[in-house]
């Protein structure tokens, strides 16, 4: 996960990267919603989900290494849902050959796996299309409450710092204790209540004092430099919203 966190930000090299950051975030969110709205029980729904996830992953130029990592992660998270099939088989309605119960028992895990994989790749692809500064700019440009943008930006900024600091603590523990990876991790865990969390509190005090001195809280969060709406951004968002509408239509048709 640590590798995923570091490798994800700004590693995409696809055409979507040329869109404005806020357009990438908005389009990614709309496509994510489309993938959720489309039903996994119909051919059209499956095709739409697969198309949306594949096309956006390609458009963002998600690196192959990240694709492999997320595929493995998705397999570990979602494939176990098929283990529920024996529990569900009894609940299904068997056909004349007895296969109907099994197939209907597959429906729910299949729904989870397909939507889960699609959601995983859509969000990950969106993140790979954004560097940390793009993300900040995009979040600030979106019509979100100031509290939300402030907290999100702080979290993203501090996470990189904290990963580095935790790595340093772990390295120091490993050197001093001479233990292996698992031993080091255990020692880091043991240090959490007495060292790690109090260190975070002290760090938060220092950071807040620095922010206060620089007048951070009294300065409105603003995008640096004006952003002009561009045709490409509008087209991307429009296409994503169109796919969302199509997914909703397929879902409506499927329900009826």
């Amino acid at each position: 996960m640590r590798a995923l966190w570091h490798d994800s930000w700004g590693s995409g090299r696809g055409p979507a990267v040329r869109l404005a950051p806020e357009a990438r975030i908005a389009a990614g969110a709309a496509l994510f919603a489309a993938s959720l709205a489309a039903p996994a029980g119909t051919g059209r729904g499956i095709a739409l989900i697969a198309f949306v996830a594949t096309a956006w992953t390609a458009a963002c130029g998600m690196p192959l290494r990240a694709v492999k990592s997320f595929a493995l992660l998705g397999a570990a998270m979602f494939l176990p849902y098929f283990l529920l099939v024996p529990l569900l088989t009894g609940a299904g309605t068997p056909g004349p050959s007895g296969q109907g119960g099994f197939l209907s028992a597959l429906a729910a895990p299949w729904d989870v796996v397909l939507h889960g994989f699609a959601g995983l790749f859509l969000t990950a692809a969106t993140v790979t299309s954004l560097s940390a500064s793009d993300f900040r700019r995009g979040v600030l440009a979106l019509p979100l409450p100031r509290l939300v943008t402030g907290v999100v930006i702080q979290i993203v900024h501090q996470t990189a710092v904290l990963f580095a600091e935790t790595g340093s603590v772990a390295a120091a523990i490993a050197v001093r204790s001479g233990s292996g990876r698992a031993g080091t991790v255990l020692r880091v865990l043991a240090s959490v209540p007495r060292v790690w969390l109090p260190r975070i509190i002290h760090r938060a005090d220092r950071v807040s004092a620095a922010m206060e001195l620089r007048g951070y809280a009294e300065t409105d969060l603003r995008v640096m430099g004006p952003t002009k709406p561009r045709a490409a951004d509008a087209a991307a968002i429009g296409a994503a919203v169109g796919l969302l509408a199509l997914a909703a239509a397929i879902r409506w048709d499927w329900i009826r």
């Binding site: 966190w5 729904d111 989870v112 993140v127 991790v185 938060a204």
Partner: protein, 398 residues
């Protein structure tokens, strides 16, 4: 302008939210190395701890955003099935509740807040899992039972780890204390040892004694010294009191109080590290309140005036007082540390107007080259309406 008036959050809250939010993203990494992520719910630990340190809105917002952010960047927790959303809701409700309780009752025992809130959160999460599983035709009872049983090690870990860490909030600027006060407290801490070296103490003692004689401080009075600093006024007041008289000396800087206590060892004094706007003292307790050399450092003078009104007996006197001119005070602050650079003393008439709005009658208003003095009599509500002390964040030292 105080953080409270700026909005729902302050720089301090943002810094805490950023760091604890980051910890909630980083912490699961350590657990996942040992394949313990699902068992111990590591994302919860920093977010639940955070709720003890910041106000409800930032605490709940951070707790809501972190699972979504983690889901987007690392894929864990997943968005579908909507584990990330369920966690967001559970964590936001837990963090908001804890923070609201702690803000309202700062001295509450951490365990008594934490345990019921954790159980409530778990019940909510299990309920959401049950409802969703039912909706997509997964075995709802099995999934809910799995979620219920799987969460216990994490809940036990939080019950063991969070309260001792949350106790650290005591003795530091608390959830309800704006950031600038913490900064000011640190600033005055840093200069406490040097403060008396900047004064001509014999001359100051003489000036204070002479002024207190003019003010007619009686021997059996109860006096509040707001912003007592190193205790120079406290000592001058004590010299006029009998054994029945008493002084409550308050400052936001623990070091200033330490210096004052070192100089003055007198059982007639109660020392408090506290904010004048939230003093844990019963109403109608004092005959006089002195705000000597402190008024411009109070972030919200209106709130302070209201609180002082609560503390004064009917007809009690408030003194907003400096033994220098307003221009001299403002010049000193403008060139002092960043923490007090914007602490400017308004014209005395403005101060008198503000006090009038809070039930005082200003009887003396002096704003000249020798001193700044506003004396006001409290004429507001009767004592029976103002006996209850607010939930202050104070540290009583004696």
């Amino acid at each position: 302008m105080s953080a409270k008036t700026r909005g729902l959050t302050s720089a301090r809250d943002l810094a805490y939210c950023g760091l604890f939010g980051a910890a909630a993203l980083a912490f699961p990494v350590v657990f996942h190395v040992l394949r313990l992520g699902h068992v111990f719910m590591p994302m919860y630990l920093p977010l639940v701890t955070l709720a003890f340190f910041v106000r409800p809105a930032p605490a709940a917002t951070t707790a809501f955003l972190v699972p979504l952010l983690s889901g987007a960047v690392t894929g864990m927790p997943p968005f579908y099935p909507p584990v990330a959303v369920f966690m967001s809701l559970e964590l936001a409700i837990m963090a908001g509740l804890i923070s609201a309780i702690v803000t309202k009752r700062p001295k509450v025992n951490e365990w008594t807040v934490l345990v019921p809130v954790l159980l409530l959160g778990r019940a909510l999460y299990v309920g959401l899992v049950y409802a969703f599983s039912l909706a997509i035709a997964l075995p709802a009872g099995f999934m809910a039972g799995l979620s219920f049983l799987g969460g216990w090690p994490g809940i036990i870990l939080m019950i063991v780890v969070v309260p001792p860490v949350a106790k650290l909030r005591r003795g530091r600027p608390g959830a309800a204390v704006p950031a600038r006060e913490g900064l000011k407290s640190a600033y005055f801490d840093s200069i406490a040892a040097r403060w008396d070296g900047w004064e001509d103490l014999p001359a100051l003692d003489a000036a204070l004694a002479s002024a207190l004689e003019r003010f007619g401080v009686g021997p059996d009075e109860a006096v509040l010294d707001v912003g007592c600093g190193t205790g120079n006024l406290t000592r001058a007041v004590l010299s006029r009191l009998s054994s029945a008289g008493r002084v409550t000396a308050v400052d936001i800087s623990p070091r200033m109080i330490e210096e004052a206590r070192r100089k003055i060892r007198d059982p007639r004094v109660d020392w408090l590290v506290a904010d004048v706007r939230r003093l844990p003292v019963p109403g109608a307790s004092f005959d006089r309140v002195f705000c000597y050399s402190v008024w411009p450092h109070i972030d919200d003078p209106g709130e302070a005036a209201a609180e002082i009104g609560r503390l004064l007996r009917p007809g009690g006197l408030l003194y907003v007082w400096h033994l220098s001119s307003r221009s001299r005070i403002n010049e000193i602050h403008a060139t002092a540390g960043e923490a007090v650079r914007h602490d400017l003393l308004p014209p005395a008439e403005e101060t008198a107007d503000l006090l009038r709005k809070h039930g005082f009658l200003a009887t003396t208003v002096i704003d000249d080259e020798a001193q700044y003095l506003v004396v006001a009599t409290y004429e507001g509500k009767g004592p029976e309406e103002r006996m209850e002390a607010p939930a202050g964040d104070a540290c009583a030292l004696a």
